[in-house]
Amino acid sequence: MRSDTLYGKLVAAHTVSRLDEENVLLYADLHILNEYTSPQAFAGLRARGIPVAVPGQNIAVVDHIIPTHPVKHRTIQDPASALQASNLRRNCDEYGIPLFDTNDPLQGIEHIIAPELGMIRPGMVVLCGDSHTTTYGALGALGFGIGTSEVEHVLATQTLVYRLAKDMRIRIDGELALGCTAKDLILHIINRIGAQGARGYVVEFCGAAIESLSVEGRMTLCNMAVEAGARGALIAPDERLFRYVLDRAVDMLTHRTEALHLWSELKSDADARFDAEFEFDAGEVAPRVTWGTSPEQSIPIDGVVPHPADANDSVARNSYERALLYTGLKPGSHLDGVPIDRVFIGSCTNGRIEDLRDVARLARGRKVHDGVRAMVVPGSGTVRRQAEDEGLAAILIEAGFEWRQPGCSMCLAMNDDVLAPGERCASTTNRNFEGRQGRGGRTHLMSPAMAAAAALSGCITDVRKMESRGV
């Protein structure tokens, strides 16, 4: 048999039919729906008068527009957003799609709840009308974001007309140093290969540094692969991953042996050919912070903001100038010491329990700096309860963090969690685009530990200084 990449194997195992040179009809094992990219797809289905092809392979959740105020029973005040939520409920009722609604105790961000509730299993294809669906590569599943027309196509057929991607492998050996996380690693990689460095490719991450990452850390890595333009990200599943999945997917325990046998084959063949390859040393990664308006524009915390004149070409020079104007920073300046107004901890990138443990570890016995508003938005109801059970919530509240209800929140600010113009925010999210967190708001992407350090010191700072003092 021809040797193949993990990506090639996953596509082959889901190809209903080859359509032409470039396209296949790809079967989706799981389709995840949210309230804002699905309404027009359901409307299209209704206009055609056809049912959802396979309702049991679809799951819906209210996450993008939901308010996160720390109240027990949540009501959506904004009329348009409330209509999106009620419309999703109506569509799910009518078409028989299981739903995690606004006040469901298991509600959360789609990419947080699907793995934690055991719905993502190695070898799957997972689609969702959300670009961060690449997250599932961490579980050996091919996930990627689709548009609303494609959501309609998946609802109608459980398949997608899928243009094949190229194969890229990124090997990361070495070890992440103290104070450095998967977030720093992915910001490092995006900075090196660029915001379109993986455009057209599905990226397989491998190497010693990946093997030693937790499953949560792997999700952070794969989640942000899309910020390098990737059409998907993958990590070959290993023992650690199998345990993670089997602990959660308890309905499949009777199939455990045959599943483990199949899953152990989910890896690229030794002589598989990749269209592009990169190598990195995790030991060279420092805690990173973005200075601009693209996730590729980041520097190590001990670095300096680059000068437009140092850019490689005129396109990059223009981008630098535009970004610096927006973020209000000077070339050659340090980010360490830049005062911040807001801190946001959460999102599908960094809203899992491991992230909150990092924040609480630093916050214990310390206080959020005067004048800083720091929000913690757990990724799901499950994460929230676990953090309360572990005592993390008490530490965070004592330190002066707002302990909120789960949702996408200020990652994209579709609800009422929004930056005011000019406000500067240390954020654990995935996009520092102009206006992303609020018009005129200035976003600095960083790890949860770095965001915690910023909250406690009132400015962007090197978390390693806090870590080394011992906590």
Binding site: L25, P39, G44, Q84, Q158, A195, R431
Partner: protein, 212 residues
């Protein structure tokens, strides 16, 4: 000559690299359950200032570019969020085609599905066209879909277009209908798939029921 074989009109220079879909269609315009009114949200923060006044210096607000049908963009145009609202908004605003060095992947699929023409070409070719259209007196561009060329005042540049994309643009293929006709084939695939991996059958419904 039909709009599906030839696009002729004013082209506006928008040479911003990594112009993401958040900027094309900001969050506050994503709260609908239909596709209406998205032309109002298009490039909102670029077209209007913080108090909602038109920014006269923005290219799409300049009278010489009013009625613009083509955008000449920067690399990785439409990167970021999957929101198809960006494409709907562009079309509702009157944009028929975008010329740029490269496009975000999901944006690309969304454009195809809505018959918004994207013509990728090398940066230096885009730069040449940009030089023409940046002068309002030479801002008219013709895109010949069958010949696959973009013509500005002083330049003629080829672009790539797959056979499928070309058919989707010129004929408006309804993918949902054509795939829907294959439901028996899909069901047969599914049965075999689930026989091999029974833990994938009804994975969403089983999980939801287990957690009631």
């Amino acid at each position: 000559m039909s709009e599906r074989s030839m696009i002729v009109g004013i082209a506006a220079p928008l040479p911003i690299a990594n112009l993401d879909t958040d900027q094309i269609m900001p969050k506050q315009f994503l709260r609908g359950i239909d596709k209406e009114g998205l032309d109002k949200g298009l490039f909102y923060d670029l077209r209007f200032d913080a108090v909602g006044e038109r920014r006269e210096d923005f290219v799409l607000n300049r009278t010489q570019y009013s009625g613009c049908r083509i955008l000449i963009g920067g690399e990785n145009f439409g990167c970021g969020s999957s929101r198809e609202h960006a494409v709907w908004g562009l079309l509702q605003f009157g944009i028929k085609a975008i010329v740029a060095p490269s496009f975000g992947e999901i944006f690309h699929s969304n454009a195809m599905n809505n018959r918004l023409l994207l013509t990728p070409m090398p940066q230096d070719a885009v730069d040449a066209i940009l030089a023409d259209v940046s002068n309002p007196r030479t801002n008219r561009v013709t895109i010949d879909i069958h010949r696959r060329v973009v013509r500005s005042r002083n330049h003629t540049v080829d672009f790539g277009l797959s056979a499928r994309y070309c058919r989707m643009f010129t004929e408006g293929l309804d993918l949902v209908s054509s795939s829907h006709a294959r439901l028996p084939e899909i069901a047969a695939f599914e049965r075999a798939h689930w026989t091999k991996q029974p833990w994938l059958e009804s994975v969403a419904a089983v999980t939801r029921n287990r957690l009631k």
